[in-house]
């Protein structure tokens, strides 16, 4: 198969990094490469020094750790070490992404230092890499399993772990945090007590588990346990072909399923270098904006249920049902759509697509108006949401938070604006931000985002061509039309090859990112030239949100914690994968 062609000259961004690095003592230990992103390779011994430099150097300022993925190179040629820890960084000031690979030499006991002291967001990501790959991060504050259960044996994402090997788990195997077993000496006049909320609790929306120590009604210590919906997405993607992964992506963030699929196929398409017709890309844009509206409806609605407003939840469900009708007309499914394909869409949209969308543009705004009238000046909603769950701008960045959560702290980072994909740079729309960083700000940002989405949809509909293909005509990637398959040999062969072997994606790696409904949704794919991914890591936007939860709620009351959990927009399918 085709090997990765290393470009002789570095891109401007990579060259700049190399020049900056050459002024530091790190120069000899860091290798600068230029893949889809500027990539640095470093050994574990220099990793912490490099991380600190990347964060603090005024000309770099990689202040937001987006993602940290383990990689097992057991069946991948051309890599020096078996294990790698791949971090993706974002510089908000420079609007640049960067990849740093830490090559871990010891295959038996892969050890590297923890970066949790530099980017607090690394805490959970490193636990995940420990859980799934057995990477041991020295100096990590709490290196325990996070996704798999406590009785699990082995590290499932290693290549020599059989995908179906399960382990029995019982209540007795559950490991509680050490501090739950001791009484708190420093407590005031109240006796402290430890409570456990979840995993099956109505306020957790999906399955998360909060263990909190209360002093009176104040939370003095908290720990969140996740992984109750760990469905092994990443392992499953390694055993399926590129197109077969699409249904799995729908079940990551199932509230806005289509955005996941689009982010995923964009990753594969950019690896293939395949071009999608304008009409196909516009349909994707329109439907992903509708998905964003659905997502915000459920998120706000469910949050309001938690603070006692059941009516608004039923009310918010109406636009959602109407959008379901549109999506069902397009692809036959309501929730988990599997509508995108690598190279375009599964089928064309119905003839009345334009009319249906425009009808929705008419019916949704009155709902939003009504909701704002019900909530914005509602005394209960204001009291419960305003001033609770507060997060400062610096905290949000350190915790790796993106999306509406970050924008409600006053940081206008929106992928659709910072790196416009599809046609987002052609449309006239605004990035709503708020400055208080509390639950009410998040509510306001989401409400305004829905209106902006409608604005985008209207402009996209105006330029949507009536006729034309929605998929590429590269038959190495897209299935040829059924009629041609029946009548000409060549198409039949393409069809056969695609179905039996899958798309052949050139060897290499890629990180593609879009604006998901709750933050930057990225897919990091590694191909070795086979019909399926060698490794697929999703950067779940709600993962850092959930990691921050136990820090946000400290000092607040339990009822504030419940109101906060709703605004984090945590979707278990994406959180646990």
């Amino acid at each position: 198969m085709t090997a990765v062609v290393e470009a002789g000259a570095l891109s401007a961004a990579a060259e700049r990094l190399r020049r900056l690095l050459s002024r530091t003592p790190l120069e000899s230990s860091v290798e600068v490469k230029d893949l889809d992103l500027p990539t640095l390779e470093v050994g574990p011994e220099s990793w912490l020094a490099l991380a600190k430099w990347l964060r603090d150097e005024p000309e770099c300022r990689y202040d937001l750790l987006l993602d940290l993925a383990g990689v097992d190179n057991l069946r991948r040629r051309g890599r020096e070490t078996r294990f790698e820890s791949v971090a993706h960084l974002l510089s908000l000031t420079r609007n640049e992404h960067l990849r740093v690979k830490v090559l871990v030499p010891d295959a038996e006991d892969p050890v590297l230092p923890s970066a949790a002291g530099i980017w607090p967001a690394a805490d959970w990501y490193e636990r995940e890499a420990f859980d799934l790959f057995g990477l041991r991060f020295t100096g990590h504050p709490n290196l325990k399993r996070i996704l798999c259960h406590d009785a699990f044996v082995g590290h499932p994402l290693r290549k020599d772990y059989a995908p179906g090997q399960r382990w029995m788990f019982t209540d007795a195997d559950m490991e509680w945090p050490e501090w739950t077993k001791q009484t708190d000496e420093r407590a005031g006049h109240f006796e402290t007590q430890t409570i456990s909320i979840g995993p099956a609790h109505p306020a957790t929306h999906g399955i998360v588990h909060l263990i909190a120590r209360l002093d009176g009604e104040r939370i003095v210590r908290a720990e969140t346990k996740i992984g109750y919906l760990h469905r092994c997405f990443e392992k499953m993607s390694e055993t399926h072909t590129w197109n077969q992964v699409i249904p799995f992506t729908d079940r990551l963030n199932y509230i806005s399923a289509m955005i996941n699929g689009i982010a995923y196929v964009r990753t594969v398409e950019s690896m293939l270098g395949v071009e999608i017709p304008e009409r196909g890309r516009l349909v994707r844009t329109i439907l992903s904006e509708f998905n964003r509206i659905m997502d915000h409806c459920v998120d706000i609605g469910a949050n309001l249920v938690d603070i006692g407003a059941l009516t608004s939840f039923w009310y918010y469900y109406q636009p959602r049902e109407q959008i379901y009708d549109l999506i069902e007309a397009c692809c036959g499914a309501r929730l988990t759509v599997s509508y995108v394909r690598v190279g375009g869409l599964a089928i064309d949209v119905p003839e009345d697509f334009d009319a249906r969308c425009r009808r929705l543009l008419e019916t949704i705004p009155p709902f939003l108006d009504d909701m704002e009238r019900l909530i914005n000046n509602n005394r209960i909603a204001r009291n419960r949401l305003q001033g609770t769950g507060v997060m400062t701008r610096e905290q949000a960045i350190a915790w790796g938070i993106t999306g509406p959560m970050l924008r409600s702290c006053g940081v206008p980072y929106d992928v659709r604006r910072s790196r416009p994909y599809d046609f987002y740079d052609r449309f006239d729309w605004d990035v709503p931000i708020a400055t208080d960083g509390d639950n009410f700000s998040r509510y306001l940002v989401r409400m305004e985002e829905m209106r902006q989405s409608l604005k985008i949809i209207r402009q996209a509909l105006d330029i949507l061509p009536d006729k034309g293909a929605v998929s590429s005509d590269d038959w190495h990637v897209v299935l040829p039309p059924k009629d041609a398959v029946y009548h000409d040999m060549e198409s039949l062969i393409y069809h056969f090859k695609l179905v039996m072997e899958g798309i052949r994606v050139p060897a290499g790696e890629r990180y593609e990112w879009v604006e998901g409904a709750n933050g930057e949704l990225g897919f990091y794919a590694i191909s070795t030239g086979g019909g399926g991914p060698y490794r697929l890591k999703v950067r779940p936007p709600c993962f850092p949100n959930m990691a921050a939860f136990e820090k946000i709620i400290l000092g607040g009351t339990i009822s504030d914690a419940i109101a906060t959990l709703g605004t984090l927009n945590v979707i278990a399918g994406e959180l646990d994968r």
Partner: protein, 180 residues
């Protein structure tokens, strides 16, 4: 009053056409009352939970069948709707919730993940909740449409009326292997 009249033997007065008395067995009357006043506990873990929300919300309206009173405590509910994937990590919780529900109780397994693990044939996913709890009605689909869940619900009502019990040898074995 189509429900009771069709399921219970009754005598109608020839003149008015109105049932002025009826005879039945206690079990039949009890089953009729039970099937029309189910209190579901939504054990919603994943995507199916979102479709379950559609079913209880105003568009599809589960309350038409007497089950609008969704309870979030197992001690007040008699119908466990498992909506979504159950992982090995969650399995003990599911069993505990089932055990806390008072008799008589029924279980609907909503969606293929709950029924068989679905397409997650993987290291952390329970391959069907009938490993853990006895299931009365399996609803296929990924996720099932609201109509499918309503159909499953009607099937359960029939089952309750007929007094049929589900076989639970597999899950009983699982429960016996758990520490007390």
């Amino acid at each position: 009053m189509s429900g009771p009249v069709s399921s219970l033997p009754s005598h109608a007065s020839a003149k008015s056409g109105v049932a002025d008395f009826l005879t039945t067995r206690v079990e039949v009357a009890l089953a009729w009352a039970r099937k029309n006043s189910l209190w579901p506990f939504p054990f919603a873990t994943a995507c199916c939970g979102i479709e379950f929300m559609s079913v209880v919300s105003s568009h599809y309206d589960l309350s038409r069948f007497g089950a609008e009173f969704v309870r979030f405590t197992p001690r007040q509910s008699d119908l466990l709707i498992v909506a979504g994937t159950v992982t090995d990590k969650l399995a003990p919780t599911l069993r505990r919730i089932y055990d806390e529900m008072p008799e008589p109780k029924w279980v609907i397994s909503m969606g293929v993940c709950a029924s068989s693990g679905g397409f997650y044939r993987a290291y952390h996913v329970t391959q069907g909740i009938d490993e853990i709890v006895p299931v009365d009605v399996y609803v296929p689909g990924c996720p099932p449409t609201p109509e499918e869940l309503l159909h499953g619900f009607l099937e359960l009502q029939k089952k309750i009326q007929s007094g049929e019990k589900s076989r639970d040898s597999r899950s009983a074995k699982w429960a016996a292997s758990q520490p007390v």
